[in-house]
């Protein structure tokens, strides 16, 4: 173990690289950008490997994501539920609760969104929409409350519990659409179409742009105001950042955790409602392609900030509509979208870990 080299030589494996990583890691903006740049670069390289022209591919993606009003509408429509699950993730994370259950809460929200249409008379007309969104929020919120209750009273590990509850929710939806909620004479595992009154109205004629996008943006604004401009938000942040201090000052920890998970679940639930009432108009088995997990990634990449999340959610929406265009125009395998969404998460986790190593994390997980 004894070494005879000088201290200067020691730890100089590649000073240039170290310095660069350190510089990127010192600035959150740069780190996030670097994570995105890294993943975009990697994906383009992958495209080249697949025999596609990366420049053309990039152009196709941009065109598919933002090239026309319809493309922008698609991007926004993909963004809306993801933004809502991101807000859900960040509300819980800010309170120190690692909620990986956004997917399950979204599924339950989707169930909640069609319940009023199923059980209430269609004559309620436009009244059905607020009722549906409310019921989605309620069901999602209750689903989110379960892991919080289990953690507070049984000491259950929220990571495992929320993960398991995702699967339970997915199979629950599967069961509902193949049994109780399936209308007779249906060809496929899905619920009946909701009446017009329960649909989120299209706000840009000729496109899919529906009012759910506004709902999501309003939710982002609300969460922002809640976090930074209310006493509740201040307590929530304190509880998440320094549970010991919160205990000393006798902040109502249980109430904070429960309410933040109720809110978190409700937001994810509304995400499910937005997808069901704005896009599908019915509950379909497998309607969500990991929207909940996307939300978690967005929240982290957005610096656990509501407005940052809007920007990153927009990026995820653009990737979704862009890779669709890529698929249909250049027949690029669909799996590329997953690779592109996953890379910034890993890159950012590494950058943040490196900062932690140097004592300055981007976000602090207070687990």
């Amino acid at each position: 173990m004894k070494s005879l080299s000088t201290p200067q030589e020691a730890g100089m494996a590649s000073p240039g690289l170290r310095a660069m990583v350190a510089r990127i890691a010192r600035s959150p903006a740069l780190a996030t950008l670097a994570a995105f740049a890294l993943s975009i670069g990697f994906s383009l390289g992958l495209l080249a490997l697949l025999g596609r022209d990366p420049v053309e591919a990039l152009a196709v993606m941009l065109d598919g994501a933002l090239g026309s009003p319809r493309a922008v509408a698609d991007t926004l429509v993909f963004m809306a539920p993801r933004l809502l699950t991101a807000l859900a993730a960040l509300v819980a994370l800010r309170c120190g609760f690692f909620n990986l259950g956004g997917e399950g809460q979204l599924q339950l929200g989707a169930v909640g969104a069609i319940l009023p249409s199923t059980f209430l008379p269609a004559e309620l007309g436009p009244l059905l929409l607020p009722l549906s969104v409310l019921s989605a929020a309620l069901l999602g919120g209750l689903w989110g409350l379960i892991p919080a209750v289990l953690k507070l009273w049984r000491g259950a590990n929220e990571i495992i519990v929320t993960l398991m509850m995702n699967f339970i929710a997915i199979y629950l939806v599967k069961y509902l659409v193949q049994g109780p909620l399936q209308p007779p004479g249906s060809d496929f595992n899905m619920s009946a179409k909701v009446p017009d009154g329960a649909m989120l109205p299209v706000i840009l004629p000729g496109s899919r742009l529906h009012a759910g996008v506004l709902l999501a943006l309003a939710a982002a604004a609300m969460v922002w105001a809640l976090l930074y401009h209310t006493a509740y938000g201040a307590r929530l942040q304190a509880a998440g950042l320094a549970p010991g201090t919160a205990r000393l000052l006798q902040l109502p920890m249980r109430r904070l955790v429960l309410s933040s998970m109720l809110l978190s679940g409700a937001l994810a639930g509304i995400g499910g409602a937005v997808e069901v009432l704005g896009v599908q108009y019915r509950l379909i088995d497998g309607f969500s392609t990991d929207i909940g997990f996307d939300g978690l990634a967005i929240a982290l990449l957005g610096g656990l900030d509501p407005l940052g999340s809007v920007v990153v959610a927009l990026y995820f929406g653009a990737i979704d509509s862009g890779t669709l265009a890529l698929q249909s125009a250049l027949s690029v395998p669909a799996a590329l979208a997953q690779v592109m969404a996953s890379l910034p998460i890993i890159a950012l986790a590494c950058l943040n870990g490196y900062r932690l190593l140097k004592g300055r994390p981007l976000w602090s997980s207070t687990r």
């Binding site: 401009h229 201040a234 304190a238 205990r247």
Partner: protein, 507 residues
């Protein structure tokens, strides 16, 4: 140059934040057979220096010479292989492991053969004169015994140089003498012993040589013989110093009772004694000190008096006294200064303004009935609190993470004293603070009593307790074993703090 040196530091510099060196060009040496004390204020760089020697940190400049050869300690394993052992302030023991497992884990391959059976380990520890129980998880041992495990760990690896980081804070005055006797014996066998400490008396009584570090720079290093207390203090603080009298014993013992504990008990836990039938009265205008060796129930006492934990048996009563005749039944929550200000006192990443007002953020002055924050009012109120408490920030929007320890503690103290509470409970109020900040904290606590509050100071720092308290109670094994009024007899206090040694150390 020191020809007898076992280990020499040559021009060591280290900074964690660029431009803020923790150590600057420090050169010094440790010798065989010698007890070497290192003195300095908190944050002077003593621990960093030890950590560099032990391979926990790497120097930015300079290096180490072991027996004249350049060595690099990239990790503790390098240091251990080079015959260096360290007893950390916060013990580096795997809490769920037994002493036997901990020793086997830490043993070098050469030493491992002697440790294959628990009985061998027990015998080996006894041969060093340091018997330890080897088959129960170390977390369940008293701190003094955990320390012993740490020392045996270094001895098992045949360390030629053993570093101790503040080893006596967990020992009672009686135990300290015994502890130095052990160190003396280890040195006599030809080992080098380094002790980082705050306590000048220990240094003058036991050390051979002393080194003083101030603000990361070496101030003096040489034999203890011929040094005086005042002389060392000047080296440590940078000026000669007369401690301001804090008027201990000036408080009134006849003020209204603000809080009363009656036969309060909490079950003991691993590494803590719990509380046993503790009765205590706190009165307005009086500073009560709680003396004791760490881990004897201080934490539980803090929690119970603060109202954070309900006692399992016994009662705690808080009384409003005559403070608020309009609402005599209302009892304001006590102002609290916890032991660990980073984890329990502050929210390091929220602005100073919120930190100051977090417990009152819901009051009408700071948020609307609908819960919206009145940012302007919060900021102006926070600014006035900062001014009053001498918290030095550029703005109240700054986060405490960017402030010095002293400023951080002032924020916690300002919040504790801001309310109309009649009682302030503080735990280790000056830990980690430099001299001036410590004096300021003690002065404010004394002033709080002068204003008519009841002040409870729980501390393991005897000097500060003696200076500030009107009355000192001694806690040992979760029990109040004695009560002394100012002026307090230091020796008597020491005897009480050690309790009944046969009961405490089941060795």
């Amino acid at each position: 140059m020191d020809p007898d040196a076992l280990l020499r530091l040559t021009g060591v510099s280290k900074s964690f934040v660029p431009g803020h060196p923790v150590l600057e060009n420090v050169s010094m040496s440790f010798r065989r057979g010698e007890l070497h004390a290192v003195l300095g204020e908190n944050g002077a760089g003593k621990s960093t220096m030890l950590n560099i020697v032990f391979g926990l940190h790497q120097p930015d400049e300079g290096g180490l010479l072991l027996d004249g050869r350049q060595v690099i300690h990239r990790s503790p394993s390098d240091a251990i292989a080079n015959g260096i052992g360290m007893v950390h302030q916060h013990f580096k023991l795997v809490p769920s492991f037994t002493a036997g497992e901990n020793l086997r884990l830490a043993a070098t391959p050469a030493a491992r053969r002697r440790l294959s059976r628990d009985a061998d380990i027990g015998r080996l520890a006894e041969s060093f004169g340091l018997p330890i129980p080897i088959d129960i998880p170390v977390a369940q041992l008293p701190l003094a015994l955990q320390q012993r495990v740490e020392i045996v760990k270094a001895l098992v690896n045949e360390a030629a140089l053993i570093l101790f980081d503040e080893p006596t804070t967990i020992l009672g005055p009686e135990e300290i003498a015994g502890f130095y006797a052990v160190l003396r014996r280890l040195a006599a066998d030809g080992r080098g012993i380094v002790v980082v400490t705050h306590h000048l008396a220990e240094v003058l009584d036991h050390a051979d040589r002393v080194t003083v570090i101030r603000h990361g720079r070496l101030v003096s290093s040489g034999p203890v013989a011929g040094r005086s207390r005042a002389d060392l203090v000047r080296d440590i603080v940078g000026r000669s110093l007369e401690l301001e009298p804090l008027a201990a014993g000036q408080g009134r013992a006849d003020g209204d009772v603000v809080a009363r504990l009656e036969k309060v008990s909490l079950a003991p836990r691993p590494s803590s004694a719990g509380l046993r039938d503790v009765s205590l009265e706190l009165r307005r205008g009086e500073v009560v000190g709680v003396a004791g060796v760490e881990g004897n129930g201080q934490r539980e006492l803090f929690d119970v008096v603060a109202g954070l934990v309900s006692p399992e048996r016994g009662t705690v009563t808080w009384m409003s006294g005559a403070a608020d005749p309009s609402a005599p039944e209302r009892v304001a929550a006590p102002g609290l200064v916890p032991e660990d200000r980073h984890r329990e006192g502050l929210v390091l990443d929220l602005p100073v303004s919120l930190n100051l007002l977090l417990d009152r953020i819901g009051e009408p002055a700071f948020s609307t009935p609908a819960g919206r924050l009145r940012h302007a009012d919060i900021a102006s109120h926070a600014r006035s609190m900062c001014a009053e408490a001498d918290v030095r920030t550029h703005s109240v929007e700054q986060t405490p993470r960017t402030l010095s320890g002293g400023n951080q503690q002032k924020i916690v103290l300002a919040r504790a004293l801001a309310g109309d509470s009649l009682m302030v409970v503080v735990h280790q109020p000056t830990r980690g603070l430099d001299f001036a900040a410590s004096e300021e904290v003690l002065r404010r606590l004394r002033a709080a009593a002068g204003e008519g509050r009841a002040v409870l100071v729980i501390s393991s720092h005897l000097d500060e307790l003696l200076r500030i308290s009107d009355r000192i109670v001694v806690i040992y094994g979760g029990r109040i074993v004695g009560q002394l009024s100012a002026p307090v007899d230091r020796e008597r206090l020491g005897v009480l703090m050690t309790g009944d040694e046969r009961e405490a150390v089941p060795a």
